[in-house]
Subunit: 297 residues, 2 copies
């Protein structure tokens, strides 16, 4: 599948996820409505929805119904959005621009941003816990525990902690790889894993998807670093050049742009190889690997 | 059951919950260890563990095994601790003292405090999702969805949002009651409800416990407000007089101390009446209502 057709599939999926999120997210009602408003502001109207796409495409491999895959994808996007809101806070990365608009603490205020993030994190577990996500309670518990592990102390939050604690330090490639595997890789891996959990896939299939997601996530991050170096804020929808400015070690600064791009391409190829056991149903996931390398935002 | 013996039961339960939390909480290992350290700092070594006590005592009504009740209680305490960490942040209530020690963002830093709160919130769902909490997957899903609702937009987070948004405004008793029902009442009610979910109790028993928790939670909050007015920081372990200083409407300021205490006593009596259908197994819960009125911290 070519990059163009992957982008089309991704856009269609993004529209479905957007519609579902709009339906599921709490409405801004009552005196507490401000927090719902902020959740909607941060979640709706933008974003590539890359993680939801991975969740839906991996679910397709195991003929999971679209409704279930989309609900799981929506929960994952709530988690991703919560992490962006909290990461953008002044006490964290202090970023005023996100998805081409003022970040949540700028559009609202810091307290509302903290609460909106907390509520989105909570809401993701509510979505996954409900019957509509899967009629097998065990599957829902598995989805929940795997998500909690992916985003907890030894997952996404741990990655952000390392990132904050290592500001100004010079990380080597090994340390940076681990940081990124936790900070962004773990949720990307979970997105792929969730399809396998929903489809009660074999251990073998789960391992293959995990290996795919692992390489894909790292390639994604390396390109992210390159775009931060080379891109402009308007295209990215977030502040460009921030990492260099803050003296943060990135793959682009440690490896240099050329070696970084080589490394990302190699990882994307490797990701595709992990999908060998799947038939043409995995073509979108194969295409996603090319998309990751060729994207400009 | 007299107040003294309730306090003894509560202290024993607190020790059990503390030991379990110490065993369950992630160890401070690796470069991300700082967040685990902050989670442990905030969660261990202090606190009345009132919500865990309610969870364990309500579970006893339905002969739930102690292990299961304690795990659920530990998850609830993680949620309570996360809410304290985030509420104490400079952008929220800006409080430097908690449980008699520097609050988490003072002992560590703001970024670490945000992340430790996020990780504790996440970890609570991990605990509840795991097999050890109950071997019936449906029960675990029920625990998870009910918790998410209790602490989400129309629960605890919503209450904190109203609290932040209404600073400087004059709330009437009705608005203040709703605020507190969300901000503190919903998690207290969940603590009681969790025992009924674990024990697959009848709807009637669930309703009775809910009504009990509802009245108890409000009585608890009114006394909290009185203690804030009348208590001192050393006994409370948190900054006293803060509400009056910040011009916040509280039950103590709106009703005046005498009427506030009357109201709390009336609610505690009413709470006890809701337990009519239960035998002497509910004596600790009955005693808890007296404890709430007579506590001085």
């Amino acid at each position: 599948m070519g990059t163009q057709s992957v982008i089309q599939t991704m856009e269609n999926n993004a529209a479905d996820v957007e519609a579902l999120l709009d339906r599921l997210l709490p409405k801004a009602e009552g005196p507490e409505g401000r927090v719902a408003e902020a959740m909607r502001y941060a979640t709706l109207g933008g974003g590539k929805r890359f993680r939801p796409f991975l969740a839906c495409e991996s679910a397709k491999l195991f003929t999971v119904s679209e409704d279930r895959a989309l609900r799981t994808a929506a929960a994952i996007e709530c988690i991703h959005t919560y992490s962006l809101i909290h990461d953008d806070l002044p006490c964290m990365d202090d970023d005023d621009l996100r998805r081409g608009r003022p970040s949540t603490h700028k559009a609202f205020d810091e307290a509302t941003a903290v609460l909106a993030g907390d509520a989105l994190l909570t809401f993701a577990f509510e979505i996954l816990g409900e019957n509509e996500t899967h009629d097998d309670h065990r599957v829902r518990c598995d989805l929940i525990v795997a998500l909690a592990k992916a985003i907890g102390t030894h997952g996404m939050v741990g990655g952000q902690m390392i990132d904050m604690a290592s500001e100004g330090e010079i990380l080597d490639v090994g340390a940076l790889t681990r940081l990124q595997q936790l900070k962004t890789g773990a949720l990307i891996a979970y997105a792929c894993e969730s399809g396998a959990i929903l489809g009660r896939a074999s251990k073998e299939a789960q391992h293959a998807l995990h290996a795919y997601a692992h390489d894909l996530g790292l390639a994604y991050q390396i390109i992210d670093d390159l775009l931060d170096e080379e891109g402009d804020s308007a295209t990215l929808g977030k502040t460009a050049g921030k990492d260099r400015e803050s003296g943060k070690a990135t793959f682009a600064t440690i490896l240099g742009p050329e070696r970084a791009r080589e490394q990302a391409t190699m990882l994307a190829d490797q990701a595709i190889q992990h999908l060998e056991m799947f038939d043409d149903k995995a073509d979108s996931l194969r295409g996603a690997a090319s998309f990751v390398i060729n994207r400009n935002a």
